[in-house]
Symmetry: C2
Subunit: 624 residues, 2 copies
Amino acid sequence: MTTAGPARPTAQAWSAFRPIAPGQARITGGLWATRADRNRSAAIPTGLKQLREFKNLFNFEVAAGRAEGAAIGPIFADSDVYKWLEGAAWEYGRQPDQELLDDILEIVALLAKAQDDDGYLNSVVPVRDGGRYVDLPHHHEFYCYGHLIQAAVALNRAAGRSELLDIAIKVADHLARTFGPDLRHDVDGHPVIEMALAELYRETGEQRYLDLAQYFVDARGTGLIAGYGLPPAYFSDRVPLREQTTVEGHAVRAVYLAAGATDVAVEIHDQELLDALEVQFASMAAEKEYLTGGLGSRWEGEAFGDPFELPTDRAYAETCAAIGGVQWAWRLLLATGKPAYADQIERMLYNGILSGVSLSGDEYFYVNALQLRDRALADTERSVAHGRQGWFACACCPPNVMRTFASLEGYVATADDSGVQLHQYVPGTITAGDLGLTIATEYPWQSTVTITVESAPATETSISVRIPAWAAGATFDGAPAEPGTYATITRTWQLGDRLVLELPMEPRLTVADPRVDAVRGCVAIERGPLVYALEREDQPGAVAPDDLVLDTAAALTEQRSELLEGIVIIKASGAVVDHDAVPGGYTGQPGPEYARRDTELVAIPYHLWANRGPQPMRVWIPVQ
Amino acid sequence: MTTAGPARPTAQAWSAFRPIAPGQARITGGLWATRADRNRSAAIPTGLKQLREFKNLFNFEVAAGRAEGAAIGPIFADSDVYKWLEGAAWEYGRQPDQELLDDILEIVALLAKAQDDDGYLNSVVPVRDGGRYVDLPHHHEFYCYGHLIQAAVALNRAAGRSELLDIAIKVADHLARTFGPDLRHDVDGHPVIEMALAELYRETGEQRYLDLAQYFVDARGTGLIAGYGLPPAYFSDRVPLREQTTVEGHAVRAVYLAAGATDVAVEIHDQELLDALEVQFASMAAEKEYLTGGLGSRWEGEAFGDPFELPTDRAYAETCAAIGGVQWAWRLLLATGKPAYADQIERMLYNGILSGVSLSGDEYFYVNALQLRDRALADTERSVAHGRQGWFACACCPPNVMRTFASLEGYVATADDSGVQLHQYVPGTITAGDLGLTIATEYPWQSTVTITVESAPATETSISVRIPAWAAGATFDGAPAEPGTYATITRTWQLGDRLVLELPMEPRLTVADPRVDAVRGCVAIERGPLVYALEREDQPGAVAPDDLVLDTAAALTEQRSELLEGIVIIKASGAVVDHDAVPGGYTGQPGPEYARRDTELVAIPYHLWANRGPQPMRVWIPVQ
């Protein structure tokens, strides 16, 4: 049934790699299967309840004439419904289930009723906020459309059901009749419509949707959004994307726009635009991305900071931003075939995104800080000091996680004319044309990935595996493999052929660029794709992590543990510092030596912190 | 004419020290005289123009029935007028001028017309935002009253004019008839009314104003402000002030409330409250205050952060918050006589407040960051990357600076039964009873303060001088004096007696508490009361300060300079780091040695940065 995942370039598009349909890349076990199962069994059903409780669905009932009342919730309330629909659609494609489909189609039927005859669809803005398109910078109407269209494409691809696609086409046609270079010249304050229209073009073959996507990309940064009380960068509208050399402004907006622009660039063969996007991504990775893959360092404006402005305590690193980062990286990976983009997807998925969800699957962080101090005040709803929450007044992150976890299989492997490329290591099966593979691995806990050929074409075919940049000493089929490349073996494969990939997972210490003031004099512990963190309750004497220093000369040791459903913990040597005691007296001058005693430091994977209640935590540890 | 400065405890109040009237403490030269002159000649006249241009005065004309139109500007627009009036009033007291008085009285007459018969006065809320007191947490009605009352007290004290006091009394009586334990039980979202009512009590002797101030202090933190979309801490309403152990939430609100509560505590003899306020101040100083005296580390909510959360690039350190910090410290100094509070006033005045104003006197920083990175995006109006601005849409800071600079003489010295205490060192004259002193000094540039007795009582009198905590090696009248104390000499003084205070000003390196992650591995340069900073254009080769490291083993040297109207610059040794080059190759592991070459580092007083255009700057310098 499923014909492609969340991004499917056309045959004409520039595309080094082509996606494999999720149905043909299955995750059958391990960490991500567990998370996907909970996404299905806990997050998606709970999400539907929350959409009822928070009145997102009620708004549509009012719009459909089935209920009466005022529109409730944030101006973009519709989008949460659409993201839930997208998640449910991918999940249905992964494992069909009549009850889930019934839930989906019931909402779709409601949307059909709520849609205006000319295609306009929004349950909040026209009834509460002054009418159609009166305040595009703030009203999120295209943003909601974008998520609707993405859900519609998902439902069509994953379930072969076109009911929602019909609604989306009506919306898109209405948009195309209303906005454009010779019509109303305007853009929405929050991108996502660009990605959505490019995908709708791919799904339907209708050129006008790609044209409109291109128009929205090109119109941005030309001064259409000015004087709206927030700086133009907030709206990704300071300069045209082609002239931008870094990421800036509201992080989710910036990466959604960049992902959509990548879709446009590969479809229209725009090298200048693609080059600019690669430069921006590189700047982000070098200067504006957390070790966890978290994006956006400022609470104010949920924005990217200046270069190297990466505070750990006030890291915003919105779950949605890392999700958008994966979407952008995935599109650049397809376009260019560069393994660094797949490395980025791994970093974001295993750290900055996974931290956004509880082990139970149904509680969420909006913000993914890299440090929680002792005596932190749990003030705003989004503060990590509250721990993960079941839902938010601004509930963008939870259904964004749902659609991501339900479509993860789409990011595992790709194909090209020569064969198949494995990007992410999961136990499962891959089918690409006549080549069928089984993957066995306990990644990310263990280093071995075993690939078994289950079916093979009669001709020579390549099997390529990503060697992560962190994997010094990697071997593929016994031969040394260079980190930061794809290792490729080309053969005429026989059933039962077995290839072993070894990705050494010795725990390692990482330092940051010294211009990252926030972590000067600190190291982070990583192992394989996982960033580690110190959480208070694991430390001897439950010492607050802010009182610990790490001895970089001492060896790190690892240990399997039953903690948190089974992890590898890492132990380091260091000391507890008594910050109130300087033998000889504190002078305020450089070099005070605080009293300290040796101790062991115990680290767990960062993404699992706060699953035993929120507590002091830190990723970057001062060096002894 | 002038009978006291901005805070005048009654004779019954607990008061270790008593303020000296500004008219009896004159600043006749040096840095602060220059700043005060520009405050008078540039800031105050320009401010009045801005109040006209930004329509703050127009709103009152509408309210007075002299013009027609909608209320314009922020909901607290009235308060900017009142703060300007307070500044102009103190300034008039400093140096009477008919034109200035005419300007003041013209506005006062307008206010009298705009005031409702029952005393209510607000030019914005009732005509635009739904009516009187419909949304106390957000509408700032008491906040505006507070500033009105402060202005009225100032005009009465400094100029002996009671016209504005009459209006303020009508306001206060209306408030006292409307709010209270047995009336409407409620508080305003933004404190300042507490300080104002306590001062009105002091000015008029009417107990009901003190009772109302006490009521507003006690009612806070009892849950009156809940569910207003912002956390209770934002409104200083999470817990009662008596139970608070640190400062939290919106920084200006927190310190204004604390200052008002101190006024109440000393007047009603409430030891529990005073003790709690001292604990909160100590926590602020140790864990939540910038080296510059800047207060509030978060842009989000303009708030104090968690303990040790003190980022330099995103320091908020609102000019108004440091001003409020001085007001609070001054009240605690009067109450307790502890020199640490005077040290704090010095730190805030010379650094975090002074940085808020341009040398020209009429451009302002709202935010006082301690670092501006290269390639920083100048986005929001308040971003320091824009440089200082002539005015702001939210113009709280400029007139706050005006009233502070116009009343500075009030903070110089105090008296008690035994004699006089000098807290701040300025060239000028002090009169306390029969004791008259002349102070000669080039402080903060030079170390010598010469005190000459110009008139003396026949009896023994003490002259006490603050020995700043930084002043190791200080001497007073030739004898060693302990930093962090008051050095006192008691004599029967003769005309012409001369005392020399030496406060050694060798440049020094300062380190922060190691829990301040933002400045780990860094030192700051200080000299006397001044914090220094590296600004790009002063560095050899105009290297960005973020590429410099400092050698703490090498000596600091100082040099008089004609730069910026005459300063002492400090030179350090260090290196320029080439962050793109690690000889031998970058491994990502601890200890990369970047290519570097020796250089000189040139530091100027922090408060003067961005007077030659905004440019990369940093206070905390990584150690080589």
